[in-house]
Amino acid sequence: MIIPQALDPVTALKQAMPDAVEDVREYGGDITIVVKPDHLQAVSQYLRDTSGLVYNFLSDVSAVDYYPDYNRPGRFGVSYHILSLLYKRRLRVKVYLPEEAPSVATVTTIWPGANWLEREIADMMGIDFVGHPDLRRLLMPDDWQGHPHRRDYPLGYETVMFSFNADEIMKHKPHATD
């Protein structure tokens, strides 16, 4: 079986969809292509189906919250880490989403494995994935309010107990006796 020649993903994508690519960054050997959120599904389809690229394995979908720094073109960034099993290389596709009603199209139609990865981000960061088949809470209980992985959500810890505040804390801490 002849394996087609591997293409450079950045040049191929810029040629095929010049208005989808916003930025290309490189750090530590990883290439990141920043795309506009509206073009995400088209870009993903292109990367998976084009011979010479064949990014057929979705490794990870991660979301970052840039609060309170706001030093990126949007409060949230969603990174899609894709892997080509044929050419043994990775690529990162990133989209930046605004603070008000962050939403982006789902990629479950292209990589079904994104189903739970996107559901976790919807649960923990509050980002809406348009077209997702089943967007319920995944890790938190169903009636939980808030999105824990956001940076303005408190860690929610119990005050550390020392001898001077032990009695005060024990007064308010629930304790089961039966």
Binding site: P141, P148, Y153, P154, L155, G156, Y157, E158, A176
Partner: protein, 169 residues
Amino acid sequence: MGIISSKLGNLGVVTTTLDQAINWGRTGAMWPLLFGLACCAIEYMSTQASNYDLSRFGMELNRASPRQADLLIVSGRLTRKMAPVVRQLYDQMAAPKWVIAMGDCASCGGVYNNYAIVQGADEIIPVDVYVAGCPPRPEQLLHGILTLHEKIKGESIRDWAAPVETIRV
């Protein structure tokens, strides 16, 4: 016990108190609930396995159904989502029942002081013995179980049995 057994000789009779007999029965074979949450459950499985055998305490048989179990070993971190489940399991167990909080997470929340973890299983169920460690070594868990046995041997029927009303005829 000495005088009477020397008089009765080899009749195979032993005298004791009711408290001691009941506590001997309770500690002899306490059946734990087949329940494991996280990493401490793996150390519990190691304690159950042949190197640090739990069968010698009669605890070889883990019952999957809480109705048939005596001992609930909360082994692992207790999350807020799992807390109602554990409470329901505890309620389903029939008295006499005991709880061992195995590990730091079950005793006090452990390494995790955040939104998702209940800071100690004793917030929702009453705990008899706390075993420290992250995860506790099998020897530590065995020490915890033996401490529970000591605690039970110190109990008396007067503490938990309701007084019987005498009926005057």
